[in-house]
């Protein structure tokens, strides 16, 4: 691997993505700032999950390209891409009977081969991922026996064990209660603190403001606003995204934008 070049800088240039015949995203430009957390927000069906899938090469683009450290991801071999970019999709299904450690070991697959099944690096990466996600005490538990938040952390730990500079998470906190959401967001912040680049699709604008460095707001397959949360979140933007009127305040503790007095615009 050429080390100097791999910082996990991901960039979409005039990207077109489609679901079958239906164009979802057209000529989209986006750059994920290295070492930062980017949250992609927008109403249901705005194309944010499709965009994330496109960035991770789950969908081939109809036009344009996605560049990872300057290389078109379509031209990277599958396993090399998986060593440089990790993805946690929304619908994560694991086979029955795996323990937390078993699951995390699968994160090493792109680094392994038929005659390289378990190296010192694999061992260290799995232990480090267990520690990073605060799962050491649960390592031998079956996945089925975990709470929702713990299970989500185990999935994220699997992607951590991939040791990629770049991590893409699709709605990592949907279906989690407040405490469990917090577990996940704190983990995300820790990972960014270690120098990783993260991007996540989020439903909740408030958590996006609170935990992301950069906000990408989408509607109808286009980016309508992009930048630091306190700069881009305005009453007009909330109206444009969700057809909602609101009063915008600042969180007295964190200073991040806070929405209140929500009313539907008719």
């Amino acid at each position: 691997m050429s080390e100097a070049a791999e910082t996990g800088a991901l960039e979409a240039r005039r990207l077109d993505l489609a679901h079958g015949q239906q164009r979802v995203i057209e000529a989209l430009d986006l750059r994920l700032p290295p070492g930062r957390v980017t949250a992609i927000v927008g109403p249901n069906g705005c194309g944010k999950s499709t965009l994330l899938a496109g960035l991770a090469r789950l969908h081939a683009p109809g036009g344009g390209c996605v560049l990872l450290d300057g290389t078109d991801i379509q031209r990277l071999p599958a396993r090399e891409l998986a060593r440089r970019l990790a993805l946690l999709p929304q619908e994560a299904i694991a086979p029955e009977g795996l323990t937390v450690r078993d699951l995390i070991r699968f994160g090493r697959q792109p680094h392994q081969g038929f005659l390289r099944q378990w190296s010192r690096q694999d061992h260290l990466a799995v232990e480090a991922a267990l520690a990073a996600a605060d799962l050491l005490a649960l390592a031998e538990r079956p996945l089925e026996a975990l709470s929702g938040g713990q299970r989500q952390r185990a999935w994220i730990a699997m992607t951590i064990a991939q040791q990629t500079p770049l991590l893409l998470l699709d709605e990592p906190t949907s279906a989690l209660d407040l405490g469990h959401q917090l577990e996940v967001f704190e983990l995300v912040r820790r990972l960014a603190g270690e120098g990783r680049t993260l991007a996540m699709v989020l439903h909740d604008l408030a958590s996006a403001c609170r935990y992301a460095d950069q906000l990408v707001a989408m509607r109808d397959g286009r980016i309508v606003a992009e930048g630091a949360p306190h700069e881009v979140v305005t009453r007009e933007l909330v109206g444009e995204l969700y057809d909602i009127d609101c009063t915008l305040m600042h969180d007295p503790v964190t200073g991040t934008p806070l929405l209140t007095n929500l009313r539907r615009l008719s």
């Binding site: 998986a82 619908e91 694991a94 699968f106 005659l115 099944q117 799995v126 480090a128």
Partner: protein
Amino acid sequence: MSLFPVARDATAAKRAPASALPPPSGCWRLAWQWPGSGEASLLISRRSALANAGLLLALLVASGVYLALGSVHLAPRALVAALVGQGDALAQFMVIELRLPRLVAAWLTGAAFAVAGCLMQTLARNRLATPGIIGIDNGATAFAVASLVGLGVSLAPPAMALAGAATAAAITFGLTAGGGSRGYRFIVAGIGVGAVFGAITQLLLARVDMDTANAAYPWTVGTLNARPPGALLVLGVGLAVGVVMALQLSRALSLMRFSEAIAQGLGSRVARRRWQVLGVSVLLTGLAVAVAGPVGMVGLIGPEIARALSCRRGVPIIASMLAGALVMVLADLVGRVLLAPIELPVGIVTAVVGGPWLLWILLRPHRSLA
């Protein structure tokens, strides 16, 4: 490597010296150095290794019993004598000429059906999706019968059965259009395709005279009695190739048990791997049907036993192979001995055992079918 693990690497290296890299629990790790190109390592699950050893032992014992029992029962000593070419000439003839080829046919067909079943179940992420249930067996049978009853096609049964298996698989996949190799839609389409091919087989047999129909009868139930040696040889070669390919695919197979986006995110070329897995499954099914007819239940029971015994992390190819052979040997043994001198075709024995098994899978409290 990348930027972050470096610091941890250094501290952890202090704790554990290089020689004492702990393998994951429940595994043996074999490692060696290639001159000039770093370390190679293999990881072997203790549980799977034990399961394979146990299944092999059981298979050997069952095979011994299979050779000893029949119209004339042989004592262990007489059996060994006959096998090494000594003692009673009749016993020698019985063991070497009659029972041994049939035993080999049971091994090979059982192994092939079970590996094919294991592959297809993994591909569809559903335990019901064995070639027998999704109609591939029936497709192979219909084509083989077509060649026997003289439809003017003169290809050998293995080629015909293979063509039938491929046709049935193509129709099933075609009906569920590409992405549909998952879930019940695929299985339901397969059951329909199987029913059509089953009807075609019956139709072919109904329009020929009694003698030809009788000759083709074994094809409709599945039997190991007096199978064509040519087809057996082809199956032997095909099984060797298929199992090696399946083993090479085993890492991709273990990722197929995850949702597709996960497998892709971990670097698996999912679409290409699916075609390869399907191809091996169809090959093994077609060649096995050419020898024994549709004994598809083995494809359900074999992998089920293998999974229960093996490590949960992987897809048990070798264990399926051994368990399938074991089931086939036992089923044919029961068929030969139970109502002797009347012989029950092995397909009927496995159906009698497999039917309730299938019901149990369908009716027991819900668990993930993967």
